[in-house]
Amino acid sequence: MKPITQVSGRAYPWGAKNIDTDVIIPAHWLKTVTREGLGKGAFDTVRAQPGNIFDDPAYAGSPILIAGDNFGCGSSREHAAWALADMGIVAVIAPSYSDIFSGNAFKNGIIPVVLPQEAVDRLIEVAKTDPITIDLETMTVTTPYQDRFSFELDAFRRQCLMEGLDEIGLTLARDTVISKYESGVSEHRPWMSGERAYAGTVVESAGRT
C-alpha cells in the first residue's frame, strides 16, 4: 500500500446515515474477479437519481467522503472498501462505522475518520466550497477557515497507514518466528506437512465418501 500521511482535497459533502454495503456496492458485483473497476458500481442506486452528489462535477474525483452514522453496515463484503478505493476515496469521515467495514477500510488503505456529529456537520458546510485536510501525523482534520478537529486512531493501524505497511507486509516481517514455528511442527507433528495435498487419487474402498 502507498504510505499516507496527509489527504488534502475536495470532499463529497454527503452526510447520509446507515449507508449499508448494498448501497455502497450492490450484490451483483460480487461475481467480479478483481478489486479494480468496482468504482463503476459504487453507489449505483444513489447515482440513479438526477442531481446526485457523486455525479456533480464540483466533487468529481474527491479523495474524501463525508457520511453519517453507521457507515458500511450490512454484509461483510470487502467489495465495499474496494469500490471506494476504486473511486479514488482515501478517507471517509463519519460519526461511526460498522466494525467490519472499518476493518476492511484499513486493510485497503482507506482512513475511516471518526468525528462527532457537530464536526461532521461543519465539515459538510465547508466541503461544499472548499477543500479539507486530514493529517495522520497530528491526527487532525483542518479547513481553510481555521477549523481544527482532532480524531483518534488505533496506533497499530495508524502506523500501517503511515508507513504504507499492509498487514501482510507486517506479518511477513515476522518470517523468522513463523519459520521457527514451522520447524517445531515438522519435529513434533511431522504428519502435518509432507503429504502433498491432492494427487488425483480417489477413495477406493466401498462406503467411504
Binding site: L30, K31, T32, V33, T34, R35, S76, E78, W82, N104, K107, N108, F156, D166, E167, I168, G169, T171, L172, R174, V177, I178, Y181, E182, V185, R189, P190, W191, M192, S193, G194, E195, R196, A197, Y198, A199, G200, T201, V202, V203, S205, A206, G207, R208, T209
Partner: protein, 480 residues
C-alpha cells in the same frame, strides 16, 4: 506446577500460537486452507500485485463449487461444456489460472473428487483433528466435526493466509452445547442443530467457539457431526467443535491426504490428547435433552425461527421482545404465512436436497429411504445434488440415483447449487422450497424465494406429499 484443565479449543489454540502480541492478539498458524472461486480472485491478484508467493502451497487446496452449474459438464464426446453465465465462467477461469500460476493444488470441475469445499475437505482427509483450517466461506465451521478449529475468513484474510500461512486473531470464548439422552424415531442430526439454534438464537454463539458434547453427539456418525458443526455459524458462533474419537480416526484412516504409516500412529496418539480435560471450564454451557427434539423446520427468515413439524406458524405477538415481534411480522409477510397455520398444511413447489449441510452419503440414503417406491407430487420440482463426485459415485453404486430418478427427482452434478442461487439453480420469486441447506435468509435461494430448512428425510417427505410433512408418518407407513 499442576496445569489447569483445558478445553479442546484451548488446546488447539495453544498449539498454534506463533507469537503473542502485547495487546493479547496472537499470530496463529494455519494448517489447512481451502480455496474456492468466489472469495479468492482478489486475494491472488493482491499477491501478484505485491510480487508475493503462496507460502505453503502444500497446505492449500482449491476446488470450484459455488458457481458451477449442476448440469452435465461434458458433452457426449467427453469435451467440456462451456458455462453460459459469463461472470461465473470468469470466476471459475480465474481459479484455474491462479492455482496454476501459484502452484496450488486444484481439483478441477470435471475431476471425480470435485465437490463443495466442505464436503471435499473431510472426504479427502485434508481436514484433520487438532488442525487450524480456514476458507473464505462462513460454513467452514463444518470441519470442526473432526476436531479441527475451522472458521470462515474474508478475502483480505485469504490473501494473508496465502502469503504468510498465519492470521492475527484474538481468542474466542468457549461454549459447551451438551445434547444428552437418545434421539427419537425419525429425528436426525439436522433436527438437533435446528433445535440448538432455536434454543440459543441466531446470535446465541456470538464471540464463542461451540463444543458439542454429550451422548447424542458421541453416538453420531461423522456425517451427522458435520451437519451439526456446519450450522454453528447460524448460531453466530465463530466455529463449532466435536472432540475427535475412534469414529473420527476410523473415518480418516486411508483417506488420500490423511497421515500414513508411522505418521498415522503418531497423529492418532496426539489426537487422543486433544479432547477437553475433565473439569475444563467453558464460558457458557447449554444443555438439551434429545428426547425433546422432534423433526423440525424453520418458518421464518432466520435459522432461529424453528418449530417442530407438528407445530403451527407462530403469532408474532407471542414474542416478548418487540424487535423480535417486528422481525417475525416481516418474516411472515415475506414467507406468505398466516399465524396459526399448521406447518403440515403448507404446500411446497420446490425441494432441494444438497448443500454442505446435507449432501453426504448418509443424507442421500435417508432421503432415498423416504423416496423409495413413492413419487414426487404433482407440480413439485425436486433436486438432489450430491456434495461431491465421490458421494455421487457412491450413491450410484448403491442404486440411490435410480430410486430418486424413478421417484421423479432430478439427479444432478455436485456443487452448491440452490443453496445460494449463484449458479442457475434458483427458486423463482414467491415460490416455496423445502431445503436441506443452512440459510433461510431473504432471497438466499433466489430473489423472493421462500425457504424452509429441513432434514434430508423431511425434504423427501415434502417432495412426495407436496407439502411440509412429518417424515415419521411416512416412515411408519413404510414399515407397516
Amino acid at each position: 506446577m499442576a496445569s489447569r484443565p483445558l478445553t479442546l479449543y484451548e488446546k488447539i489454540w495453544a498449539a498454534h500460537v506463533v507469537e503473542r502480541r502485547d495487546d493479547g492478539t496472537c499470530l496463529i498458524y494455519i494448517d489447512r486452507h481451502l480455496v474456492h472461486e468466489v472469495t479468492s480472485p482478489q486475494a491472488f491478484a493482491g499477491l501478484r500485485a505485491a510480487g508475493r508467493k503462496v507460502r505453503r502451497p502444500d497446505l492449500t487446496l482449491a476446488v470450484p463449487d459455488h458457481n458451477l452449474p449442476t448440469t452435465a459438464r461434458l458433452d457426449a464426446a467427453g469435451k467440456r461444456l462451456p458455462i453460459a453465465d459469463a461472470e461465473s465462467a470468469a470466476q471459475l477461469d480465474a481459479l484455474e489460472r491462479n492455482t496454476a500460476e501459484f502452484g496450488v493444488d486444484y481439483i478441477d470441475a470435471i475431476a471425480p473428487e470435485q465437490g463443495i469445499v466442505h464436503v471435499v475437505g473431510p472426504e479427502q482427509g485434508f481436514t484433520q483433528p487438532g488442525t487450524t483450517l480456514v476458507c473464505g466461506d462462513s460454513h467452514t465451521s463444518a470441519h470442526g466435526a473432526l476436531g479441527a478449529l475451522a472458521f470462515g475468513i474474508g478475502t483480505s484474510e485469504v490473501e494473508h493466509v496465502l502469503a504468510t500461512q498465519t492470521l492475527l486473531l484474538s481468542q474466542s470464548k468457549t461454549m459447551e452445547v451438551r445434547v444428552d439422552g437418545t434421539l427419537g424415531f425419525g429425528v436426525s442430526p439436522k433436527d438437533v442443530i435446528l433445535a440448538i439454534i432455536g434454543k440459543i438464537g441466531a446470535a446465541g454463539g456470538t464471540g464463542h467457539v461451540i463444543e458439542y458434547t454429550g451422548k447424542v453427539i458421541r453416538a453420531m456418525s461423522i456425517e451427522g457431526r458435520l451437519t451439526i458443526a456446519n450450522m454453528s455459524i447460524e448460531a453466530g458462533a465463530r466455529a463449532g467443535l466435536v472432540a475427535p474419537d475412534e469414529k473420527t480416526f476410523a473415518y480418516l484412516k486411508g483417506r488420500p491426504m490423511a497421515p500414513k504409516g508411522a505418521d498415522w500412529d503418531k497423529a492418532v496418539a496426539w489426537w487422543k490428547t486433544l479432547p477437553s480435560d475433565a473439569g475444563a471450564v467453558y464460558d457458557k454451557v447449554v444443555m438439551l435433552d434429545a428426547s425433546e427434539i422432534a423433526p423440525s423446520l424453520t418458518w421464518g427468515t432466520s435459522p432461529e425461527d424453528v418449530v417442530p413439524i407438528t407445530g403451527v406458524v407462530p403469532d408474532p405477538d407471542s414474542f416478548a421482545d418487540p424487535a423480535k415481534r417486528e422481525a417475525a411480522r416481516k418474516s411472515l409477510d415475506y414467507m406468505g404465512l398466516t399465524p396459526g397455520t399448521a406447518m403440515q398444511d403448507v404446500p411446497v413447489g420446490h425441494v432441494f436436497i444438497g448443500s454442505c449441510t446435507n449432501s453426504r452419503i448418509e443424507d442421500l440414503r435417508a432421503a432415498a429411504s423416504v423416496a423409495n417406491g413413492r413419487h414426487v407430487a404433482e407440480g413439485v420440482r425436486a433436486l438432489v445434488v450430491p456434495g461431491s463426485g465421490l458421494v455421487k459415485r457412491q450413491a450410484e453404486a448403491e442404486g440411490l440415483d435410480r430410486i430418486f430418478l424413478d421417484a421423479g427427482f432430478e439427479w444432478r452434478e455436485p456443487g452448491c447449487s440452490m443453496c445460494l442461487a449463484m449458479n442457475p439453480d434458483k427458486v423463482p420469486p414467491g415460490e416455496r422450497c423445502a431445503s436441506t441447506s443452512n440459510r433461510n435468509f431473504v432471497g438466499r435461494q433466489g430473489p423472493g424465494a421462500r425457504t424452509h430448512l429441513v432434514s434430508p428425510a423431511m425434504a423427501a417427505a415434502a417432495a412426495v406429499t407436496g407439502r411440509l410433512s412429518d417424515v415419521r408418518d411416512l416412515m411408519r407407513g413404510a414399515m407397516s
